[in-house]
């Protein structure tokens, strides 16, 4: 399958569009309401990160089917400053304090799979997958 839909993220309202896209696809794929809420929250966080740190970028959502195992993948892309210290960013911070939101470790925990690639001055690509149980 290769039906990927993307939303450009430039302002806070685009975050809502990305959520809507994700929720629709999650619903279609048959995710329950808790998982729908988790997926949209993960999208929120990724989109917010783009909006706050890269200025602009995009969120793509795609259904996946690996040998009959179905799921949904979120890909967040930007050409922002990149992350110099991935190790630090992925460290369990105190993400629920200080209004920082869930942060990347939080997103990692909400989803089943998570990967991140970032090059300074080039950009960041984060991909997160949730499998249908």
């Amino acid at each position: 399958m290769d039906i990927q839909s993307c939303v450009e993220v430039r302002n806070e309202w685009d975050i809502v569009s990305a959520r809507q896209l994700g929720r629709n696809m999650a619903k279609e794929l048959g995710f329950g309401s808790v998982d729908q809420a988790r997926i949209t929250t993960a999208i929120s966080e990724l989109a917010r990160n783009i909006y706050l740190y890269a200025g602009r970028g995009k969120i793509c959502i795609e259904p996946i089917d690996q040998l009959g195992r179905k799921g949904l993948r979120i890909v967040a892309l930007d050409n922002g400053p990149g992350i110099r210290e991935i190790r630090k960013v992925m460290e369990d911070g105190y993400t629920t304090s200080g209004g920082l939101g869930a942060g990347l470790p939080g997103v990692k925990r909400l989803m089943d799979e998570f990967s991140i690639e970032s090059t300074v001055d080039v950009g960041t690509e984060i991909s997160a997958t949730k499998w249908l149980r």
């Binding site: 309401s33 808790v34 809420a37 988790r38 929250t41 369990d92 993400t95 629920t96 470790p105």
Partner: protein, 335 residues
Amino acid sequence: MTAKDALMERYQDLLSVYLKAKTETTLYKGQQFSRKLLEQQISPEDLVSLHIQVMDQLFPDMSEEMRDSFDFLLESMIGYGFAYREHQSLRDKQQQLESEIEVAASMQQTLLLSDVPGFDQLDIGVVSVPAKKMNGDYYNFVKSGNSLSVAVADIIGKGIPAALCMSMIKYAMDSLPEEQMKPHLLLENLNRVVEQNVHSNMFITMFHGVYEPESHKFYYAGAGHEPGFFYHAKEDEFHDLIAKGLVLGVSRTTTYHPYEKMIEVGDMVILLSDGVTECRTSKGFIEREEVVALIRKYMDLPSQKIVENVFQELDRLQGFELRDDFTLIILKRLV
């Protein structure tokens, strides 16, 4: 039936029973059920979702608005799911850190703290209890010839950095030349080591003394350390045991003043760290007089019993939460 189905069934049973007759028993079961959820590491948003599913079954005719409001609650609960998962990961991390600290603390205990030596003329008692796992107080006894040397030190600061610093003091003392038996010279030597090796924002206070059994004299010197007490048996009085001097590590050229005192039969030399005198109770800091009063209360017991009893009382006064490392040493001349 999956584990999730089983939970749902159980929750539905409990809720139905509760709705039929709202008894405390069912609420108690509800609470125990939530404990079970926690054991199984079920997130709080899952509990809300469980509730919604059961409501759907119990009230198929629920108004649409009512149904929608649940979705909103669920959405708002997701943030707590973050916090909950973070909690689990923090707990794992914390457990690992704590087991590391446990190991380090026991290393410290066995390696750095000397045994109380047998010494015919003196009855010696020691307690040294860290406020947290690692001790930033240090004490050391060395028998050399006929004399007994005793040191008490307090690293300003607590916890792991203090423990690291304390291990330095230990190895520095071990490698000092034999003039050790002159307390003021020992402090001067040690001061140079500390000044060279320890970070400039770390300071160490220290008291060092040597008891010579032939002359019954106690030679001592101090580096900014909390004064001990001297109990003069003949007068039945406690006095401060003051030894002035700059804390270790401030200046390379510090010199220390030599002090000495005759020790008669029944006299006591009491050394301590400021964790003893700066016990903080709900009524504020205790006074040095209160420490003296406690020592007096148990004075007729063997030294080890005295220090243990004093510690226990002060520990209780502080609600079993020491604010600082606590070290108390008593040397009582027997013959």
